[in-house]
């Protein structure tokens, strides 16, 4: 029976694993992911779930155990964040190369140095070329629903790749919202048990997995197959999203258009801060500005066509990246610009960096972005990447530098 309750983003992720009836959960703690594994540990211990929970000695080991269990034929769930994702990085490519399905939740947290706790997306985006599919979420409900859909996607014969589900540390991980818990029976109809036909370890069906490959021709074939499977995943995702909507009444597209129909000025955002962007869009609309927002959701495979279709012909578009590639700029900006390149009606693009290390994006900063959008629409060049940073923030920073004994110019 469906049930409505208040859950944090972390708890919603754990509930996703619980409803997916996973067999195995290797874990390693890192703030802000801990609550996910704590809940699952409790459920595994008291028999609420049938899956086995094991604390590993590192994320590298955790991801290896996760991939190996998936390669054995189990449905596997695990979760990590920032430093942990990077610590296990080589294993991401390994698992994708094995072509085994699992769901890995990443709770975004900015990367050291300097070490910090709050969210930005350099961690998750570093994995964009790993072969994992990637879905970014905005609400606690969406986290739970996405974990369920991710298993369907990962285990589909046309895909057979692992999936990363992203949620923001603190702003979602520790934030409670009402969440509708689908009935277990309905979920098991949507998501039947995993039955591997290609990857298994068992006495009656021996096989070699992850064999060394020599020669670029063989390597090219296998690596390119990951790309072809990701491309297929776009259509497979749409099927799954439609079925999910039919069963549970909530639809999640590859991207989420928000008040886009007649929008002239568009913000492109992802994850939890997209909520703030939506509020601004409503605020601007009330003022008569035709604003809209495009939220990036499925990030791998990259839905270039859907994005280009949503943005083509707008007066101006601001891509707000909550990440930074030093020496280049915003990461999603690059990808969106590339998606628009071959379109006739390319809108002017403004590259904005905001919310690094969990820094707030205030109303004033959004207003400044709107001004920049209007300038860009009028044919002015807005140089990017443009870091959103307020005067009080700068003043406070100067004080901190002074306290740290540094020579700050007045």
């Amino acid at each position: 029976m469906t049930q409505r309750t208040l859950l944090t983003g972390n708890a919603a992720a754990a509930w996703g694993a619980r409803l997916a009836d996973v067999d195995y959960i290797p874990a390693f703690p890192i703030t802000p992911q801990t609550e996910i594994i704590e809940l699952l540990a409790q459920w595994a211990t008291d028999g609420t779930i049938a899956g086995r929970f094991v604390t590993m000695d590192s994320e590298h080991s955790m991801l290896t155990a996760a991939g190996a269990a998936a390669a054995t034929g189990a449905r596997v769930f695990t979760a990590t964040s920032s430093q942990g994702l990077l610590y296990g990085f080589e294993v991401l490519y390994t698992i994708a190369g094995w072509r085994v399905p699992l769901v890995l939740v990443n709770v975004s947290r900015a990367l050291a140095s300097p070490i910090t706790l709050e969210a930005d997306h350099n961690d998750i985006l570093s994995a964009r070329d790993s072969g994992f599919l990637q879905i970014h979420t905005e609400t606690c409900q969406e986290i739970l629903d996405t974990v369920l859909m991710a298993y369907r996607l990962a285990e589909d014969q046309r895909v057979m790749l692992p999936v990363l589900v992203n949620l923001d540390g603190f702003t979602l991980s520790f934030t409670r919202e009402p969440v509708e818990l689908p009935a277990a029976a309905a979920v098991s109809e949507f998501l039947p048990p995993y039955q591997p036909h290609h990857a298994f370890i068992r006495g009656d069906r021996p096989m070699a997995q992850g064999a060394a490959v020599l020669g670029g021709a063989a390597y090219s074939y296998f690596r390119y197959q990951q790309h072809l499977a990701q491309e297929k995943a776009l259509a497979v995702y749409e099927e799954i999203a439609a079925e999910f909507a039919a069963r549970f009444g909530r639809y999640y597209g590859l991207v989420e258009p928000f008040q886009l129909d007649d929008a002239e000025y568009v913000l492109v955002m992802s994850n939890a801060f997209a909520t703030k962007g939506k509020a601004m869009v409503q605020h601007w609309r009330a003022r008569g500005v035709k604003a809209g927002l495009l939220r990036l959701r499925v990030f791998r495979p990259f839905p270039a066509a859907a994005i280009a279709a949503a943005l083509a012909g707008r007066k101006a578009v601001a891509v707000i990246d909550q990440n930074l590639a030093p020496g280049l700029g915003g990461i999603t900006y690059q990808e969106i610009a590339a998606a628009l390149y071959d379109r006739q009606e390319r809108p002017p693009l403004v590259s904005v960096i905001g919310g690094l290390g969990g820094k707030d994006i205030s109303q004033g900063e959004f207003e400044a972005v709107l001004v920049a959008l209007q300038q860009a629409a009028a044919g002015e060049r807005v140089p990017g990447p443009w870091l959103l940073y307020t005067k009080p923030e700068q003043e406070r920073m100067r004080t901190l530098l002074q306290i740290a004994g540094k020579e700050v110019q007045a």
Binding site: G97, W98, R99, Q157, R158, M160, H197, H198, A199, P206, M207, A208, Q209, G210, A211, A212, V213, L214, A218, S220, Y221, F222, Y224, Q225, Q226, L228, A229, E231, K232
Partner: protein, 300 residues
């Protein structure tokens, strides 16, 4: 440009031979490139190394597919399907084979090959001068240098460059220099290899589109377990162990010690060597308490 390809087995020193040639050409003032290919195979397996020599900067990389000169470390490689030393060779190529057999005998093995085929027993020359099999690299490197028209002085300078980097004793180094002079004199009787007129690097092949395959195909997994004998590592062998049944006491020692599982026991518990797979490490020969194995030079 001159393109020279060396074929040998891991451990036979063909990488060094390609470097001796490279260093010699470099000493002579040419633009040079040399590189070995690394495969999965270890010591004993067929391998190749490449040297390119030109007057101008070399704008090629990787394997040489249309060689001017091919140097083959021993004649068992000539028809080896893994080594394929004659791949890309044509009427304008020169192939130099280290062998005890003469040109006519070798030609019978490779009837399709129309280019020049030179042969000499470099192993015998090397052993006579240095008493070390490892000096085959010196012999073949210098022979190649002579064949591409480099002077004796440059060849020796190139050899010296390689020798300084090795852990050889002074006496061995001197013996290698001696060997180089002998081989150079011998190779001088052959006409030098000339550059090709046409500068095509390789034949062109049509392109195809790679399309989606289901996951059973699309990952580096293997369902045909235990299929490695298809690789036939017997082609690594330079010497073969041959059982003299009358001396065998059926003690099982060779069967137990062969790392490769290339020895099985027949119904009477006599060892049977699987020559398709035996790599010729000769451990069984060394370990047999009654010396029941003899060693024969491999001929294919």
């Amino acid at each position: 440009m001159l393109r020279i390809r060396f074929h040998g087995r891991g451990g036979q020193g063909m990488k060094t031979a390609s470097r001796i040639l490279g260093s010699a050409a470099f000493r002579a003032g040419f633009c040079v490139q040399d590189s070995p290919v690394y495969g999965a195979e270890r010591r004993g397996a067929p391998m190749a190394a490449f040297t390119r020599i030109d007057r101008v900067q070399i704008r090629e990389r990787g394997a040489i597919v249309r060689p001017d000169l091919v140097v083959v470390a021993d004649d068992t490689l000539l028809t080896d399907p893994a080594a394929q030393p004659l791949a890309g060779c044509d009427a304008e190529s020169t192939v130099l084979v280290n062998s005890t057999r003469d040109e006519a005998a070798l030609r019978q093995e490779v009837p399709a090959y129309t280019g020049r085929l030179l042969t000499a027993d470099f192993t015998a020359v090397a052993l006579a001068t240095t008493h070390a099999l490892a000096s085959l690299s010196t012999a073949l490197g210098v022979a190649a240098a002579c064949l591409v028209g480099l002077s004796l002085a440059d060849s020796l300078a190139g050899l010296d460059d390689e020798l300084t980097e090795s852990h050889m004793s002074m006496a061995q180094k001197e013996a290698n220099r001696q060997l180089a002079q002998t081989v150079y004199a011998q190779a001088s009787s052959w006409a030098p290899v000339r550059e090709r007129e046409d500068s095509r690097i390789a034949e062109t092949a049509p392109l195809v589109e790679v399309t989606f395959d289901p996951p059973r195909l699309a990952g580096p997994s293997i369902y045909a377990v235990g299929n490695s004998p298809q690789r036939r590592t017997g082609n690594w062998r330079q010497f073969r162990p041959v059982l003299q049944v009358e001396r065998c006491t059926r003690c099982w020692i060779c069967f137990v010690r062969c790392p490769e599982a290339a020895i099985s026991l027949d119904a009477q518990e006599y060892p049977v060597v699987d020559y398709d797979e035996c790599k010729g490490c000769l451990l069984c020969v060394h370990e047999c308490p009654t010396h029941a194995f003899t060693v024969e030079k491999e001929v294919r």
